[in-house]
Symmetry: C2
Subunit: 155 residues, 2 copies
């Protein structure tokens, strides 16, 4: 089910989460860890209720929505996961290096999401907004359009 690349991704993501939680004295509980693994394995953005289903297969107890949303909030607050509001989905983020320069791209057709790191562009955006008295938040720029694959097959 999980490819080698995916396994790598999971391992890296978990390692980062563990380091981060230790540093900040937060708890990477079994549930949080399990949710994070689900997200990392999915290789793409996942919806909250899909996570509930995924967890249902591996856990004895049913995990209610409130719990999932709390868990996701935790992971988002940690910066380990991005919420993509426009598709009600969550995307794990392994590469912590772009804390201040993240752009999210969502394909309007296939709904796949990907991150893009471009500090220069991000700074340009940020400055432009500051001129207007607006303070950009990190990791909250969502763009829509066609991805490479979908653009190809478009009529």
């Amino acid at each position: 089910m999980a490819s080698a690349a995916s396994e790598d991704c999971v391992r890296l993501g978990l390692a980062l989460a563990e380091r981060l939680c230790q540093e900040r004295k937060m708890r990477l509980t079994p549930l949080r860890r399990q949710v994070l693994i689900c997200l990392l394995e999915a290789q793409g953005a996942v919806k909250a209720y899909d996570l509930i289903e995924m967890l249902h297969k591996t856990r004895k107890r049913f995990t209610p929505p409130s719990t999932i949303y709390r868990t996701l909030d935790f992971l988002v607050d940690c910066g380990l996961v991005h919420k993509i509001a426009s598709i009600n989905s969550y995307l794990p983020c392994t590469c912590q290096h772009h804390e201040n320069s993240l752009l999210l791209f969502v394909c309007s057709r296939c709904k796949k999401a990907q991150e893009m790191d471009d500090p220069k562009l991000y700074v340009a955006l940020k400055q432009r907004f500051e001129e207007l008295g607006l303070a950009l938040e990190n990791g909250s720029i969502e763009m829509h359009g066609l991805c490479h694959a979908c653009a190809k097959t478009e009529a």
Copy 2:
């Protein structure tokens, strides 16, 4: 209730809508017109179910969700209104001039939204995405952060 500036806004918005619909042989029905007016008068982003309530005051019949969403879809397709997915809201757009260079800013605190036109920045973004095989869509860049007013009162 409606200030002079707001009245101007409504007048301009309606004029644009009428011209656009005539050009494209589409129909600006009473309902569509009424929804557009509500949005223009609101001076900010409005939610679908709030529109239902607003319409309930001026119309005899209750307007069901399906109808509202269809109407909003129409207005969005026309380019007269932007959907802001991250706050489930709709924002009218009077200034048609920035068809290809629109950025939307949403305050994470007060949820107020505003448009920003910056062709240069937009082109830079677009080019950067094209390098990655991604084709940006118009009017679909949403950013979050603190607006001027909220940044001031922030602890």
